[in-house]
């Protein structure tokens, strides 16, 4: 199945006088891992938050599975759309197991099924359930908390998972480890559509099957990582790639 599952048609978003997204159109296919890359203020998070209806477009249409988002029950939609955010997304007054169980509880699963699912998910994100299930978020490291965030988003086996700069506050090593895991999770689960917002170009190129480069509310380029590196479409994309080159040159000098 390759039909578009998320589609933006001439979407515009303004906050007061501030026009954040002038005119945004794109399509995401089922099962794709798409990264949205942009600087702060590029409108990437705004775009993500419109997919789960946290923000409404000022004009234009958003279609999820072919249906206009205005006609969908947002509460129901969100329960089947995982959502991972930066840093403090976990509820501090709930244990790890309770955090993961939030949406299953909302959907009134029985306790045995919830327990089994929590255990399965903690193993998937490589945390020992016996050790971590009954701890509180503050007792975990940043990387472990973010693992729980991912597990929580996958709790009800949603078709979509939205990531809003989930690894932004982690150190480089933990970050790389988690990137590898998230990519592997996407490959192991079929038909899951991942949308991943980041300002880190290496992360965007490593994770995304397609990368959407945004700048000042517009899409500069939306293509595969290889295509972007080989044929940057605009001066802005070229400049972004330049930042990576700069580092590579530094390394090369050291090697010589």
């Amino acid at each position: 199945m390759t039909e578009a599952t998320i589609q933006f048609k001439h979407v515009q978003k303004r906050f007061g006088d501030n026009l954040v997204l002038p005119d945004l159109s794109f399509q995401i296919k089922r099962g794709e891992f798409v990264t949205i890359l942009g600087t702060s203020g590029s409108g990437k998070t705004t775009t993500l938050k419109m997919i789960n209806g946290l923000w409404q477009p000022s004009a234009g249409e958003i279609l999820i599975d072919g249906k206009n988002i205005n006609q969908l029950d947002l509460v129901k939609l969100r329960r089947h759309m995982g959502y991972v955010v930066q840093q403090i997304g976990l509820f501090p007054h709930m244990t790890i197991a309770q955090n993961i169980a939030v949406v299953p509880k909302l959907l009134q699963w029985d306790q045995a099924r919830i327990n089994a699912r929590v255990e399965e998910l903690l193993k998937l994100v490589q945390l020992d359930p016996n050790e971590y299930a009954n701890r509180y978020p503050t007792q975990l490291s940043g990387g472990q908390q973010q693992r729980v965030g991912v597990a929580r988003a996958l709790a009800t086996n949603p078709s979509y998972v939205l990531f809003d700069e989930p690894f932004g506050a982690l150190d480089a090593l933990t970050r790389e480890e988690l990137q590898g895991e998230i990519k592997q999770i996407h490959e192991s689960l079929t038909d899951k559509t991942f949308m991943f917002v980041t300002h880190d170009i290496n992360e965007a190129l490593f994770l995304g099957q397609r990368v959407m480069v945004m700048h000042q509310g517009r899409i500069e380029q939306f293509a595969s990582p290889a295509e972007i590196v080989r044929h940057p479409a605009t001066p802005f994309v070229k400049k972004l790639l330049g930042t990576v080159r700069q580092n590579q040159e530094l390394w090369r000098e050291q090697d010589e």
Binding site: V75, F91, P92, L106, R152
Partner: protein, 212 residues
């Protein structure tokens, strides 16, 4: 001191019991009103700030003026006392409850709704439990101030420990005043302790972890 106690302890215990009844009734009523107001106005910030402003005005009315205004409506006695103390406590409770609920990290509230909680579920599962520490500190302040203020209702025949104070003032005796003060403090500390135990039972597990 002990002679006074030996001679008067049955009346003094009765005063204490009246005092406790007045304070707990006022606090209970204030708590119920605060919860109703917040549940009704949670998503109407203007109403909420309007009401808080209204209660802050009531708070600034001197208690004697309040009693005088209410006399034609509810007469002398406990009823008027409880109404006035409720209105005073209301301001403290509303303010601290609102601050507590608004102090919950807005990102957590957004995540809750992004995960598919309705606004009611977000309130009960996220905002309310995280606001509990602020709610309990508001209750403690309201408790202590109502306990102290309740001594004045003896002037409108509502009873309570204020009777000892006024007896001492009128007869120029120190001992009843001291007893009135001590017993008010005993009641306050006792109730504050119970409240603290309830708070601990509600939030102990995750807050202990936060402090560590």
């Amino acid at each position: 001191m002990s002679d006074y106690w030996n001679a008067n302890w049955p009346t003094m215990l009765e005063d204490m019991q009246q005092h406790l009844t007045i304070v707990l009734s006022a606090l209970g009523a204030a708590l119920i009103i605060a919860v109703i107001v917040i549940l009704l106005c949670l998503h109407h910030e203007r109403w909420l700030s309007g009401l808080t402003y209204f209660f802050s005005l009531l708070y600034s009315i001197p208690s004697f003026a309040f009693f005088a205004l209410l006399l034609p409506l509810s007469g002398l006695g406990m009823r008027t006392a409880i109404i006035v103390l409720t209105l005073y406590a209301e301001y403290v409770l509303l303010r601290s409850f609102i601050t507590g609920i608004q102090g919950v990290d807005p990102q957590l509230v957004e995540v809750a709704s992004g995960m598919g909680m309705t606004s009611r579920q977000t309130f009960w599962k996220v905002q309310f439990p995280l606001a509990l520490p602020a709610i309990f500190s508001g209750l403690q302040v309201a408790l202590a101030s109502t306990m102290a203020m309740a001594t004045i209702v003896a002037t409108i025949n509502a009873g309570g420990l204020g009777q000892l104070l006024f007896e001492g003032l009128q007869g120029q005796q120190v001992v009843p005043i001291l007893w009135g003060t001590i017993l008010t403090m005993v009641l306050t500390l006792g109730c504050a302790g119970i409240l603290w135990l309830i708070e601990r039972a509600c939030t102990h597990r995750w807050r202990r972890v936060l402090k560590a």
